[in-house]
Symmetry: C2
Amino acid sequence: MVLIRTCDLEPFQLTDGVPIMPTTTTMPTETAAQTLTDSGLRSTPQREVIYSILLNKRDHPTADEVYARVKTELPSISLATVYNCLETLVGCNLVRAVNFDREPTRYCPNLRPHAHFHDENLGSTYDIDLPPDLLEQIKAILPPGYNASSIEISFRGHTAPEAAQN
Amino acid sequence: MVLIRTCDLEPFQLTDGVPIMPTTTTMPTETAAQTLTDSGLRSTPQREVIYSILLNKRDHPTADEVYARVKTELPSISLATVYNCLETLVGCNLVRAVNFDREPTRYCPNLRPHAHFHDENLGSTYDIDLPPDLLEQIKAILPPGYNASSIEISFRGHTAPEAAQN
DNA sequence: AATTTATTTGGAATGGTTCTAATTCGCACT
DNA sequence: AGTGCGAATTAGAACCATTCCAAATAAATT
Ligand SMILES: [Mn+2]
Ligand SMILES: [Mn+2]
Ligand SMILES: [Zn+2]
Ligand SMILES: [Zn+2]
């Protein structure tokens, strides 16, 4: 894995030549470290590694799954720190928390407006891109006086085997 | 409160002259007892009272809130039974479980397709009716091979004081 | 280097929900 | 109406994802 930098601002990680970067509407203009310090927080190895783990495998892992993955890089990290870091990353809008019913919270670095599809057979979660016009239509069903700060759309169901997923 | 019966099939509860009934697209054709026995389950006082409590005050109560309300009618009921009954009512599609992030599950007797708005100030939850065509448009964003068995749409935000709620 | 403040850490606590095993109930069949 | 049997209720224990706590460590500031 190699760190590259585009525009002298954005450090992206290369794995097998595939650039890994946060999925934003526009190109990201800040590194995670920048976003953290901009929010008055410190850039720590734990936060950076956890963020990179979310970027590298976007399968919406739970805190436990993140814990298992980060331990290979930071063997002495604690589960409490994983929770703390994930909360911090969510707090500065680098990551989104995704919930399905009462299952453990999952974490997603995709910052574009998108819905989630949860395959009940596989337990897998997929991103479904949300057309901007549809998002507007959905917001439009709210009666006057209802001011939404966030919208969440989630599907449950099954995926056909031929719909090849990552 | 008076129990009335229309069509010799549907027992509705009258509170101050206002008929209380499940909110379905069409008029309900079965009583709760019917739906239960049709599902091979028994109609018990606990199940009936809990269902009537959900119909009478549609504020999306939690299991604890249902417990507090049902105790006035069935003082010896247990919290475990409240959970059991709610699960049973959800299982035979008389009631829907509604989740906001990791908050306690709430329960809703509105069976029409609708979204939920959660007021973060008041902690209140409101039903937002969902136009059928919009529901179709939302389903249409799924790639081929993704078969959704349920869709959930939830808003978080604040309501203006003049948007008078129940 | 010393001080200050933020972060990490292990372990305990929390709280909504589920599980367990005993009791009670509803219902079908005498 | 009484009996038997499976279903439902009950109290309390257990579960488990998450949060809290207080001590240790690390990062920034002086
Ligand atoms: Mn699942
Ligand atoms: Mn709330
Ligand atoms: Zn996602
Ligand atoms: Zn509802």
